[in-house]
């Protein structure tokens, strides 16, 4: 008899759902009344109240998804079948996507707020004529460590390979950054195409992994692990460090003496996007000064919006009743002398990219 009961439950459920389904099964095609935009970004990378505000203002539903890294985004896009409209990849990945003809040229008439972007973030090497992108955030890569678990002051990438910190280090879980760290530690350029140099970087990582230096390979799992003191040392992005600092004041951030990477993440629209107008509306909304300020305050990544960048310390003081620590502001929006020590990732030729993939897969074995 139990079966009859369950059957009734299942049928009742499905009947209700079928009825509800026809209402929500919005086909993403044109002509439907519901306007939607499918956004794909990184985790912990937006003040979510901005999404609902945009939805209220425009009536456009935002389908907000996240992926952990540029490489995974690229996999999903290449495999096909994903229907993102707006993506927020980093500089080198943007070049690669442009090269593979996957991005749409933007209509900047629909994005008047693009004028608010500081000139130094326009026409960057990944998009020299600025036809495809609107910058979203920028920052540096650095070492984050817990001063209550590490006795010394860390200044070098060596710490990421030091057996002294066995099982205390979190290595970043994407090929470009991880191999980049090893390259920088060895004194090579992060944009090298030399097989020997990349091989050497791989060996450096493989050796440290073999020696048990790495507790885990992580992306956004890092927040929990660093905040709770699960690990002592890790490499991640400046904005996320500041966000972790709110929950664990013992954390320190350093751009190592060997130099580091500085990056720009920019919003782009995919070539076969079905909601290009909505996408441009979203982009325009996100780079307004108001949204940039709120977003900066939430994610702690520096905005490329010139006004927002200037006004942020005042905005902070107004909201929290205390002045923003200049040191923190400079971690967020790195001053020129820090950026001068850093190198941006440039897109590498196909052979190097294949090598990156192969080395990365090998390292994971």
């Amino acid at each position: 008899m139990k079966k009859t009961v369950s059957l009734t439950v299942a049928l009742a459920l499905s009947a209700g759902l079928l009825a509800g389904c026809s209402g929500t099964a919005s086909n993403p095609g044109s002509g439907s009344e519901d306007r939607v935009v499918n956004v794909c970004s990184w985790g912990e990378y937006i003040d979510e109240s901005l999404i609902s505000e945009f939805e209220e203002q425009t009536g456009i539903k935002v389908n907000y998804q996240t992926v952990p890294s540029n490489e995974e985004l690229y996999s999903i896009l290449s495999l096909g079948g994903a229907n993102y409209d707006v993506i927020v990849p980093s500089d080198y990945m943007i070049s690669q996507l442009i090269e593979e003809d996957m991005l749409a040229e933007l209509n900047y008439d629909n994005i008047p707020n693009f004028d608010l972007i500081a000139d130094r973030f326009k026409n960057l090497s990944y998009d020299p004529e600025n036809k495809y992108t609107v910058p979203y955030a920028w920052g540096t890569l650095g070492i984050i460590y817990n001063s209550s678990m590490v006795d010394e002051e860390i200044t070098s990438w060596d710490a990421m390979f030091d057996t002294k910190y066995a099982d205390q280090v979190l290595m970043i879980n994407n090929s470009r950054d991880a191999l980049g760290i090893a390259l920088m530690d060895l004194g090579y350029s992060v944009n090298t195409d030399s097989e020997e140099e990349l091989q050497a970087a791989y060996e450096r990582l493989a050796k440290a992994k073999e020696d048990g230096v790495y507790q885990a390979f992580v992306m956004d799992e890092i927040f929990d692990k660093m905040e709770s003191g699960e690990a002592a040392i890790s490499t991640y992005y400046a904005g996320d460090y500041l966000s972790m600092l709110q929950n664990n004041p013992d954390l320190k951030y350093v751009v190592p003496e060997e130099g580091s990477n500085w990056f720009v993440d920019a919003m782009c629209v995919l070539k076969d996007a079905e909601n290009k107008d909505e996408a441009e509306e979203w982009i325009n909304f996100m780079c307004s000064t108001e949204a940039s300020l709120r977003n900066m305050d939430y994610i702690w990544y520096a905005s490329p919006n010139e006004e927002a960048l200037e006004q942020y310390p005042a905005y902070y003081e107004e909201n929290y009743g205390e002045p923003l620590d200049q040191e923190l502001y400079e971690i967020m929006a790195a001053p020129q002398e820090v950026l001068d020590r850093c190198e941006a990732y440039l897109v590498r030729p196909v052979e190097t990219r294949t090598l990156y993939n192969d080395l990365w897969t090998q390292l994971s074995i």
Binding site: S75, S78, N173, Q215, A216, F217, N357, W360, T361, I365
Partner: protein, 284 residues
């Protein structure tokens, strides 16, 4: 009559061709293709490099299956001896966790096994580390449990144990007790009864259980991801990485999937031959 009713299967045969056979052929096709679309055997020649992943996957899955069997068989026997009401409640309790998503169950272990997790906090609170450190003069702050192969095996055992218990129990509970009594009457001792009667009769359940634990264990990627910290790469992770992960190469991914599929099929075939081809239709 006979032939007319057989036409009922027609639509499903078409469906199978579309959504079972062709997709598998797609994997085969991709496995023999290169990125520019040409035929290649590279994907297979390169598989040798991934031998450690194959070995690790089969080793961990084998271990997990063995542990499941060592726990699942005795508990099934013990359960079958209890009263009907007890059995019903116990089986309900064993099935209940299966209705919660396995990711949630795996996630639960993360907070238990972490260096600063519940278990280590508990050990620390009862002074276990102080005791060890004072006896051995070491400086242990925690036991390293998460991100080890052991944690991955634990995750597998935890998630798949009910899959082992259910088929074994359902066979054992239906065993004809007269056979056992007859064996006793004919002078067999407990060990002999078990070896000559109970075990052979419960073999279909055991084989079914082994399949239901081993196959998901050898191909999992979520458990090794969550409890292995990205350091215990299994076949599932290798495949996932090539399709949706950090090193896009569906051609290599397909080749790995194909080889894994073949190896698993061979393992299962050998095992079932060993079970004298008993039709194993014991699911849930």
């Amino acid at each position: 009559m006979k032939n007319r009713l057989s036409l009922f299967a027609g639509p499903y045969v078409v469906w199978m061709a579309l959504f079972v056979v062709i997709p598998i052929l797609m994997i085969v096709f991709y496995a023999f293709s290169s990125a520019d679309g040409g035929f290649t055997l590279d994907n297979f020649t390169r598989i040798g490099e991934y031998l450690p992943v194959f070995l690790r996957s089969f080793e961990l899955a084998f271990l997990a299956t063995l542990i499941c069997l060592l726990i699942g068989y005795p508990i099934s026997c013990a359960l079958a001896r209890e009263g009907a009401q007890f059995q019903r409640i116990a089986m309900m309790l064993i099935m209940l966790p299966m209705w919660m998503n396995f990711l949630l169950r795996t996630y639960a272990w993360m907070s238990i096994l972490e260096n600063t997790g519940l278990l280590n906090r508990f050990f620390s609170a009862i002074g276990l580390f102080d005791l060890i450190n004072s006896i051995f003069g070491t400086d242990i702050q925690y036991f390293k449990m998460i991100n080890t192969p052991g944690a991955v095996v634990l995750g597998m055992v935890y998630n798949f144990l009910p899959f082992m218990i259910l088929p074994i129990y359902s066979v054992i509970v239906k065993l004809d007790h007269r056979l056992i009594e007859a064996a006793r009457d004919l002078g067999a001792d407990s060990a002999t009864v078990f070896r000559r009667v109970t075990l052979p009769l419960s073999l279909p359940g055991v084989l079914s259980g082994i399949t239901m634990v081993f196959v998901p264990a050898v191909s999992t990627f979520a458990i090794s991801q969550l409890l292995g910290g990205g350091k215990q790469m299994l076949l599932g992770n290798l495949i996932e990485m090539q399709f949706k992960g950090a090193a896009y190469n569906p051609y290599l991914g397909s080749a790995v999937a194909l080889v894994m599929m073949i190896v698993v099929v061979i393992c299962m075939a050998v095992m079932n031959r060993f079970g004298e081809g008993e039709e194993q239709a014991v699911v849930l």
